[in-house]
């Protein structure tokens, strides 16, 4: 599903964000990518979403070599990869429904299709009945659920969660992780980028540990090593 081949990302003048990374993630896997701040976790996400291009090596997503992806092909790639962030990236002046619908509107989806899809994803993330609320009227956990719902509207094969629980308390954190597990069980490959030791240790799933831009550990049922 996702293949990193000898991938290096270098930022001038002297920063190696990723150094000779080799990684193979199979379809429907749940993988936690862990490491301290500044070890290259977010750069990995950016390379996968074509926000950054590798300096060396190759990156292949779902059989598609996106190393030298053309600008016009990037939107197509991003519709296949759902991404959620620590800061939710919701539009404050739009309701829950509108925030999710926005992701479909900007891709030219018809109104009829939007009214079908949005309630479905709201149900998946457990926000049915809250579609008319504004982000400020929701808890942090609920806001992150909206962001996850939005990332699911295009039925992506991969969901990347970049520090999704960074702004949440322990209860909301648990709920979000449970939701990610549920999504994974539906067949979506999930990459959880985090430095939350407790969560990683409780998952009992594959853990890839990065340090200084290099993979120092890749365990099938891993634990937080650092």
């Amino acid at each position: 599903m996702i293949i990193f081949k000898n991938l290096t990302k270098f930022y001038p003048s002297d920063t190696f964000a990723l150094r000779n990374v080799n990684l193979h993630i199979k379809p429907k896997e749940f993988v936690s990518i862990v490491g301290r701040s500044g070890t290259g976790k977010t750069t990995m996400v950016k390379v996968m979403t074509a926000e950054e291009t590798p300096t060396q090596g190759r990156i292949i997503i779902g059989g598609w070599d996106i190393t030298d992806i053309k600008m016009g092909e990037v939107p197509g790639l991003r519709r296949q990869i759902g991404v959620v962030f620590q800061d939710f990236k919701l539009l404050g002046k739009k309701t829950v429904f509108e925030n999710i619908a926005f992701a479909l509107q900007v891709c030219g989806t018809s109104r009829q299709r939007i009214t079908e899809v949005v309630p479905q994803v709201l149900k998946i993330v457990g926000l049915a009945g809250k579609e008319n609320r504004y982000p400020v009227q929701l808890s942090g956990g609920e806001q992150q659920r909206v962001a996850i719902a939005r990332s699911l509207v295009h039925r992506p094969k991969i969901l990347i969660a970049d520090e999704p629980t960074g702004n949440l308390d322990s209860m909301n954190t648990r709920e979000i992780i449970d939701l990610l597990i549920k999504i994974n069980e539906f067949g979506t490959t999930v990459l959880l980028v985090t430095h939350n030791r407790e969560i990683v240790n409780s998952l009992g799933k594959r853990v890839v540990t990065l340090d200084n831009g290099q993979i120092i550990s890749d365990q099938k049922k891993g634990r937080y090593l650092l």
């Binding site: 600008m71 016009g72 991003r78 539009l91 926005f102 900007v106 891709c107 030219g108 990332s151 295009h154």
Partner: protein, 305 residues
């Protein structure tokens, strides 16, 4: 590019227009000023062309014949002149008619009338009034006449030198045109800079939406297009306002123009209506293209997709 996408682009552009309402208003105002100055320039050109046409119509050359020149000789000269391609028309004024005209012209001057009475015979010769096709042709026609065998029959030639007036009108109109062009150019330049800045601000105020659009896989053209459409809104609204202001102005000056030219057929409002799409349609097209160009530069510079 589906119809849904196009619809969404228009909706986003419209929302952006209202979100930065005051900025949109300033942008439109400047474009309106640019368009009004262009419309004034067009108006001025139409009026000055009309003035020149009227004066040109009045220009002619009167060829006065000696008293002893016979009617046949004068008519021969008329035939000769008619054969010149540059001559438009020739009127023949007989000796008798010339005398009548003279009497009429000086009917309030008893001294002249008495002097005429004392003369036993008509002191005036026949006259040919020549009109050329182009005002520039008069000197050539006069030269041809000077060098012809008929020169001895001619007493005098009176080239009513309205050309000086035309020259003056042309100079004034050229100068006003120059100032108008300069003013229009400055307004257009300012308008383009304002549009550029408005789009730049719009991009900044939509930064979060743009980030999300990119995140969820919106096509690059979709992210950019609302800003281009927004600039088309500015151009179109400004154009409508400019037309809305131009027509009352035209109607306001119409009676003054009719009085000035003493010509009821000259209807400037009608002129603008007859040439609506040629003038205003072209104007709309150009201002839209310029706005799009300006926005495009702002998008290329400030919107990274």
């Amino acid at each position: 590019m589906s119809l849904n996408s196009i619809y969404q682009v228009i909706i986003f552009a419209w929302q952006s227009f209202w979100r930065n309402f005051w900025l949109s208003l300033v942008t439109i105002t400047i474009i309106v000023l640019a368009l009004l100055s262009i419309n004034s320039l067009i108006l001025l050109n139409v009026v000055s062309d009309k003035a020149i046409d009227i004066i040109k119509e009045k220009i002619d050359v009167s060829v006065y014949f000696r008293q002893e020149a016979t009617e046949n000789q004068v008519l021969e000269v008329q035939t000769y002149l008619s054969s010149l391609t540059k001559v438009k028309e020739i009127s023949y004024i007989s000796q008798q008619q010339a005398l009548q005209n003279f009497r009429q012209k000086h009917q309030n001057d008893p001294l002249i009338i008495e002097s005429l009475e004392e003369l036993e015979k008509n002191p005036l010769g026949a006259t040919l009034v020549v009109k050329s096709k182009n005002i520039e042709d008069y000197p050539e026609i006069l030269t041809v006449l000077d060098n012809s065998k008929y020169n001895d029959l001619i007493l005098d030639k009176n080239f009513d030198d309205n050309k000086i007036y035309i020259g003056k009108i042309k100079t004034i109109s050229d100068n006003v045109n120059k100032i108008g062009f300069l003013a229009s150019g400055i307004f257009i330049l300012i308008a383009l800079l304002i549009v550029f800045n408005t789009i730049r601000v719009a991009i900044y105020t939509h930064q979060k939406e743009i980030t999300i659009m990119k995140l969820v896989g919106a096509a690059n053209w979709f992210i950019r297009s609302p800003f281009l459409v927004e600039s088309v809104f500015y151009a179109t609204i400004a154009w409508l306002i400019a037309i809305g202001l131009t027509y009352p102005l035209i109607n306001l000056i119409q009676p003054h123009l009719t009085n000035f030219f003493l010509d009821q057929t000259f209807n400037i409002s009608q002129y603008f209506q007859d040439n609506f799409w040629r003038l205003f349609g072209l104007e709309l097209l150009i201002i839209i293209l310029l706005n799009i160009a300006s926005s495009f530069i702002a998008i290329r510079r400030y919107l990274k997709v």
